[in-house]
Point group: C2
Chain length 752, copies 2
């Protein structure tokens, strides 16, 4: 029905696609079907008794990230990252000891060239199906794969691959001439990693995110004969062209705004599909995914295209967190924020879907936090942490940025706090140690970290923010990173490390206050450079000190008054840092201020027609000028993960749910309406959900049976009542109630 | 003419080869033609004005070594290495600044996905052919390749890829929102590496060693209907089956001896070619190379094979060194040694062609030394050094063996001494530093290196050789390695490192003599373990101390008398350590002893029918028992690089040619007949050759014009005469003559 006519029909069905010549292995037809064949699930723990593909921990993330991050193009030109890309271990040994009552037949699949050994003796012949004997025996496989991650899938009645297998990249399995076995005591084994590729056919190297077809909501014929398609809102995927007739080049110009798609010369991304020979009724699609709401289709003269639609590509994560309230605008903000985060949740947590599509540690750190209130998807956090960290040796900060190394440590801390997953901590701890060793080796004579040659000291996109010398902001994050090291050292049983890191953190914290806390300014000042202090007060150090709980009650007050609510202190313009600014205000109990800010700032974007939240928003900018950034008319990303912070703020500081010991072993709920009449929502955790309803006189709470013990904190003019538990007074107008798992609580109170 | 008939002819030409299913990318037909298409040359310096493929230094060696070393099979089972295999950098930036008088068109080829920038701005459109402007401009390319090494080939009139390009794996090329360029001052650039792939079509990833057909010298029909083929001598390559009719499995059993090929159950290597459907007059070949002299061909019943021959695979190196003398047996030993080394010189210097086919540092170290007297092929030494070292971080000793780390350092020292190639030293120095840091971090409280968990302390295959505690042998090699570090630190301009390493070496040397030199035993004793000395005297430490010149004249005498020529000291049985034992005897002037030993030991192997020299030779073993090792009847390798030492001994200690400053800037010639009536030969170096003739009354010498200044050392009963130069007396019966390049010298003298 939607025949686009551009000229005479073609004759021959011989096709050459320029882009496919570059990537012959990725044929769209394959891709589409693969996305159906390869199941994608969001849990990476073993399903009991289920065989699954396994590999060396972290390697799949590194390999997949290389693949994903190298998809960036800028107006057709390949634009790779500027930091070191690492590789998986190409040769990996897997083994596990079994004790079977009866022999059994096991089926083996591997990605790479491999051998199979039983008790160290090589099996010959058909390695896809072997007989495994009864009794105590060790099964070992060793796999070589240069191009993709060595991985194995073994399935028998009892002999199966799962994360209980041991893996190493260096088995030291020699036997000397005398038959003496090697000294393997220096070999380091790790637990295997997996991600629920649960059939032999579901090869990890073939993984693609799933897709589904979507059609444009509007098609406009342009005066130049081209078509402008509007998909209704920000989206991501492949463009499909169907029923093509003729030959020549079809150009596709993408736009997050209509203006961008219409700007042939300045749109940020474009595609070219070249049909070198005449085709008739031919279907094709773009070779790689793009972000867009609008698409301009420009076929060569004489070509016809029958229909254009898209394959929407998405991460199969489940929105488990919910939020709704009395304020319709806030509800819309939450919905659009959730959609924004979903678009930026792909193989990994990325920065934005249009331009970089890279994994940036500072951006990802915020996505982790939002994730804990929306999906609680652990695998995506883990993959992102592994991908960012790469392999040793450490040759630069993560993403080359000093602060981004620190966010990486803090991301591990939060992951542990929210999930209680000590296995991840144990696996990743050696990589934490080597990155921290790199940081410690770069301290100045005062023990502070300054930007050294090759370091990018970022903090924020902001004017007047000097980067020379020791910045209080960087020392604060450095200190938090050292505290994280101490925590993780304790988790892994490295008691000596725990003591050392704790001491380093305590020393640095003391120096931080000593050098940078200015009593007269009631705030942290900016920096120390060549013995001279830059006494400018910025928001950054101060808001982080508040939200990381580095301040005593009086200092907290001072920072709120003299910095956060002080209009003379330079304002923040990026949603990136507004995330923490609003969080700090929430942490200081200023939810009412935050509600207004959300309505203004995020509501402002919605009033400009945003269907996802932006990289940056300047209320003063008008018309197409609001899309400009980096000196390019459409440089700004209109769908940036860091724009989705309301999810986090509303979940953590309005519904008020936070773990107080790892993995929600204990947690607290401290509802804050922030001026809303009522709100209700769900906060997910590994073992279930916590549901909260709150208005000015009533609270209602329920947690899943798998939860730990919660503490409800209530501010009330009078003593609240609850028939399901005992309310305790803990201060003036302050009460609390213990929440047992599985129990519903209704509390009557009177909001202040 | 050689039709093998095994049964009825088949009908259909549909073929499935089991091995090819595993490695579909390597089709023999392709392989044979590739070996012709891709030129293989032995020099890796740029040919002036010649464009060549370039890559990150060391990466090609690492990638190619993974490929080569993973070809090992044992009776059909894949048998990979047990140490860490590293990978190339998958994302590499290449650039060079040009200043052209006129614009020009340049042609670009790359292995991997790539972009092209001129002065930092991406070129769009066709990247295979671009216009490069006149004036000063920077050309940059950035290439991503996970499966093979990122490499580029650029060819214009003046703009061409060669080793003058800069490369990095981490360009830190960011630009912040304000347009401020990144701080690249922390970026490390290296000079690009190449290996004379000098056309766009000669892709590095497609490289294969060349092959040529060879036919068996004898075919024997066996009583079981199979055929035994004899190729006349030890050889290496693919077996080709031609004119096959029928279907089923053809089994191929390889033997370095006839007994091995006939032993279906115990031969070390075999192949299986499966034709699942009937074929008629079909040709095929094995998927991978094997070592053999004999081959048993066992087709399924009902199959016919028309003809069997082989594709001999070889390294295209040139035998530049020569040696001949009055003793026909020594001449045959030299020839068979040269052939043995050639067979073991492949993509890298390997240990032996039948079994491991791996790069072992201790074995390779000897090949380097032999190479300097046979091929003087620098690229193979460099590739082998890079492949052995791999990438950081260092997680174990090279090949997991402590002594093998030390041989690696010593290999760099020798390479520099023989070639004077300071560019290699500069490139590899950071990897020397990190390996040495690993070694230094593993010293005990006395500063000695003991075997720690996971370390293999090897020395030699020998009885009674305890490996516990600090072994004098390991400390000696450690000391030499520290001296190598000091030398290379000076070459790279690391003056602080030079001082530190020199001091460490001097301290260790002092302790070595202090703790292990036993005045009463006139020798180094074995070890120190938990404060107790093991006072056994082995040959190892003592012979190395002598040949590394660690002994004064008196100690040298003592070691010769009390160790080397003392039958009570445990004898050495491996050609591996006989290499150094005989070298030490040569260094002590005992060539006459060495001549006898060569005739006995290597002549003994020849008398057993050896066509290449063995991994181990026991004159007492009889019949097939002589092929046994590692508890397997044919476990012993009959073609092992370390068996070829006569090449080195005859070149260095008989012809007597050695560099005395890096790259033969100066050198000495000290002919020693060792009981021979006459000898003549050629010793190659980078810039040409040195020719030596010597009998008991005459010496004749000539060096190429490119040589440095040589010193001929003559021992003579009377003052020698020479009309081309002035003979100087330097001691009793000791004379010398300065040798200028390009000049022929004839010296008359009287041997002592």
């Amino acid at each position: 029905m939607n025949i686009f006519r551009f000229g005479r029909p073609g004759y021959k069905v011989v096709v050459g696609l320029m882009l496919w010549v570059l990537f012959p292995s990725v044929l769209p037809a394959q891709k589409a079907s693969l996305s159906k064949e390869v199941p994608t699930v969001k849990v990476d723990r073993d399903v009991a008794g289920q065989a699954t593909w396994i590999w060396y921990p972290g390697d799949y993330a590194i390999w997949l990230a290389n693949k994903m991050q190298n998809r960036r193009t800028e107006r057709g030109a390949f634009l790779p990252v500027f930091w070191k890309m690492d590789s998986h271990y190409v040769l990996v040994e897997f083994h596990k000891d079994f004790d079977l009552a009866a022999p059994e037949t096991i089926h083996i699949a591997a990605e790479g060239r491999y051998n199979v050994k039983i008790d160290g003796k090589a099996v010959t012949g058909n390695l896809n199906e072997i007989r495994f004997p009864a009794g105590k025996h060790r099964l070992s496989l060793k796999v070589y794969n240069q191009a993709a991650v060595p991985a194995i899938f073994v399935k028998g009645d009892q002999v199966r691959t799962d994360s209980s297998w041991q893996v190493t990249f260096e088995d030291k399995e020699w036997i000397d001439a005398s038959g003496k076995a090697s000294d393997k005591s220096g070999t380091t084994y790790q637990q295997a990693a997996c991600w629920n590729f649960n059939s032999a056919a579901a090869k990890p190297s073939q993984f693609h995110l799933p897709t589904r077809p979507e059609v444009p909501v509007k098609k406009t014929s342009l005066s130049n004969g081209n078509w402008l398609l509007d998909f209704g809102r920000e989206t991501f995927g492949y463009i499909r062209l169907k029923g093509i007739q003729g030959s020549g080049v079809v150009r596709i110009y993408y736009g997050e705004s209509a203006a961008e798609a219409l700007s042939v010369d300045s749109c940020e991304t474009l595609d070219t599909i070249q049909l070198t020979k005449n085709v008739q009724n031919f279907d094709t699609m773009t070779a790689s995914t793009k972000a867009f709401r609008y698409v301009q289709i420009a076929p060569a003269e004489g070509m016809q295209i029958g229909q254009v639609d898209m394959l929407y590509e998405y991460a199969p994560v489940t929105e488990r967190g919910t939020f709704s309230c009395s304020d319709m605008l806030i509800n819309r903000i939450w919905d659009v924020a959730a959609y924004t985060l979903h678009l930026n949740t792909r193989e990994f947590f990325i920065d934005g879907i249009k331009r970089d599509r890279w994994i940036w540690s500072g951006d990802a750190y915020q996505s982790y936090l939002m994730n804990y209130y929306l999906y609680f998807d652990q695998p995506t956090v883990k993959r992102t942490l592994f991908a960012l960290r790469g392999k040793d040796p450490v040759t630069s900060h993560i993403n080359t940025i000093m602060d981004y190394s620190f966010y990486w440590f803090m991301g591990v801390q939060d992951y542990f706090t929210y999930t209680g997953d000590s296995a991840l901590v144990k696996t990743i701890y050696p990589k934490m140690q080597s990155l921290m060793a790199y940081c410690l080796s770069r301290r100045d004579k005062d023990g502070f970290m300054e930007g050294l040659p090759g370091d990018w000291v970022f903090i924020d996109w902001a004017d007047h923010l000097t980067k020379q010398g020791a910045l209080s902001f960087e020392q604060l994050l450095f200190c938090k990173s050292l505290e994280t090291m101490a925590t993780c050292a304790r988790v892994t049983g490295d008691t000596r490390g725990a003591v050392q890191y704790s001491q380093l953190a305590a020393d640095l914290k003391a120096k931080l206050f000593d050098v940078f806390w200015d009593k007269d300014k009631h705030a942290f000042i900016h920096s120390l450079f060549k013995g001279q202090k830059d006494e400018t007060v910025f928001r950054y150090t101060n808001m982080f000190a508040l939200l990381l709980n580095y301040l005593n009650a009086q200092q907290k007050e001072e920072v709120v008054t003299h910095v956060l609510l002080n209009p003379k202190v330079q304002a923040i313009h990026t949603p990136y840092m507004r995330f923490y600014e609003l969080e700090a205000l929430c942490a200081a109990g200023k939810q009412d201020v935050v509600t207004r800010e959300m309505r203004d700032y995020w509501g402002g974007m919605l009033s400009r027609g945003a269907t996802s939240f932006w990289e940056q928003y300047d209320p003063a900018a008008k018309g197409d000028a609001q899309y400009a950034m980096y000196g390019r008319p459409f440089g700004k990303s209109l769908c940036h993960a860091w724009g989705a912070s309301p999810i986090y703020l509303l979940g953590k500081y309005y519904l008020g749910v936070t773990p107080t010991s790892p993995g929600y072993g204990t947690y607290q709920v401290k509802p804050e309406l922030g001026g809303l009449k009522w709100m209700k929502g769900t906060v997910p955790f590994a073992g279930g959900d916590i549901e909260v309803y709150c208005d000015r006189t009533k609270m209602q709470l329920q947690s899943s049976a798998g939860a730990g013990v919660g503490t409800l904190l209530i501010e009330s003019r009078r003593k609240p009542s609850c028939s399901q538990g005992k309310i305790q007074q803990v201060g003036k107008n302050a009460y609390q109630l213990q929440l047992r798992p599985g129990q519903q609580y209704v509390v009557n109170y009177e909001a202040i």
